[in-house]
């Protein structure tokens, strides 16, 4: 099963669903949290918005996560140890207010945690799918001291 996440943004992101449709020949169970993106398809199942509990179940069941470049979706995929393919929303297609999603997608794919997809060539998704089938995500924990640091601040004058 392929889980596709369009994000919570109001801007449309139909390109990622068009790309997902190209994977129908490999996997005919494609579940899409399309959010605000309007789309009709007989190849994928569109679920509008899903509660986070239900979404967590889909993450567990999915073989591959195909997501916009939002950190919530990407990190949930990594945490579930799934191959994550990320397609950044781009400003020039009015998918976001800027191109910041390319930053995190570039960085995390450089570090080997996810696969970055070239969204300008839609068929690149097929290459990414093939990569994902044998992808071994980087297992190193990402540096994180921020919770301790903030706890220390918050507990300082209690």
């Amino acid at each position: 099963m392929i889980l596709v996440l369009c994000g919570t943004q109001k801007q449309q992101f139909s390109r990622i669903i068009e790309m997902a449709e190209l994977l129908y020949k490999f996997d005919n169970e494609i579940i899409v949290q399309n959010g605000h993106t309007k789309y009709e398809s007989n190849k994928v199942r569109l679920l509008d918005f899903i509660s986070s509990e239900k979404l967590e179940n889909y993450y567990e069941k999915a073989d591959i996560i195909l997501t916009h470049g939002g950190t919530g979706s990407i990190m949930t995929g990594i945490r579930n140890r799934k191959p994550v393919i990320a397609v950044p929303r781009l400003e020039k297609f009015h998918e976001h207010v800027d191109d910041h999603q390319t930053e995190i997608v570039h960085k995390l794919s450089e570090l080997g945690y996810i696969i970055s997809c070239n969204s300008l060539i839609k068929s690149d998704i097929v290459n990414c799918y093939n990569k994902a089938m044998s992808f071994q995500p980087n297992n190193d924990p990402i540096y994180s001291k921020i919770h301790e640091m903030i706890s220390t601040i918050l507990n300082k004058d209690n």
Partner: protein, 155 residues
């Protein structure tokens, strides 16, 4: 003087995911969450308050900003948080400004999504020193915010 210890605030989406991750991992009670309402069903709770969801490219954004400012002011007066912790972005600016004026301690955490450049909100908060502690999640961002603290990933 303070009625609530901690107010955690963020926009929707990834910012809210980062806020939840922070709250889950640090051990605090007596807190309030202020975020944007989206169509995702949320368990109702008296610990969570909602602002209007807004995107800065919307025509009506300025009206939403005014609404959110007034709502933030009402919430501030009612709860008087000692600390305001924000994971960004724009919809949290009103409560940060109000908090800064009335003496709350502000902790601003730049989004995990930003590796090389800051958010407009982050730059605004930094430039006008609307923070007491400014965290970045990527080392690369110290070039943009030299006085920030590098804390690593919030996830």
């Amino acid at each position: 003087m303070y009625k609530t210890k901690y107010l955690f605030t963020s926009s929707a989406g990834g910012h809210y995911a980062q806020l939840k991750s922070l709250i889950n991992k640090i051990n605090v009670d007596d807190y309030l969450v202020l975020t944007e309402r989206t169509k995702i069903k949320q368990k109702s709770s008296n610990k969570i308050k909602f602002l209007l969801y807004g995107s800065t490219d919307e025509f009506h954004y300025i009206l939403k900003l005014i609404y959110n400012f007034i709502k933030s002011l009402i919430i501030f007066i009612k709860y008087r948080p000692r600390y305001i912790i924000s994971t960004g972005v724009h919809s949290t600016i009103p409560i940060i400004i109000i908090g800064k004026i009335f003496g709350s301690k502000i902790i601003y955490i730049e989004s995990y999504a930003k590796v090389y450049t800051g958010t407009r909100t982050g730059k605004f908060i930094y430039k006008y020193k609307l923070y007491d502690y400014f965290f970045v999640q990527w080392k690369e961002l110290l070039a943009v915010y030299p006085k920030a603290i590098y804390g690593g990933s919030i996830y």
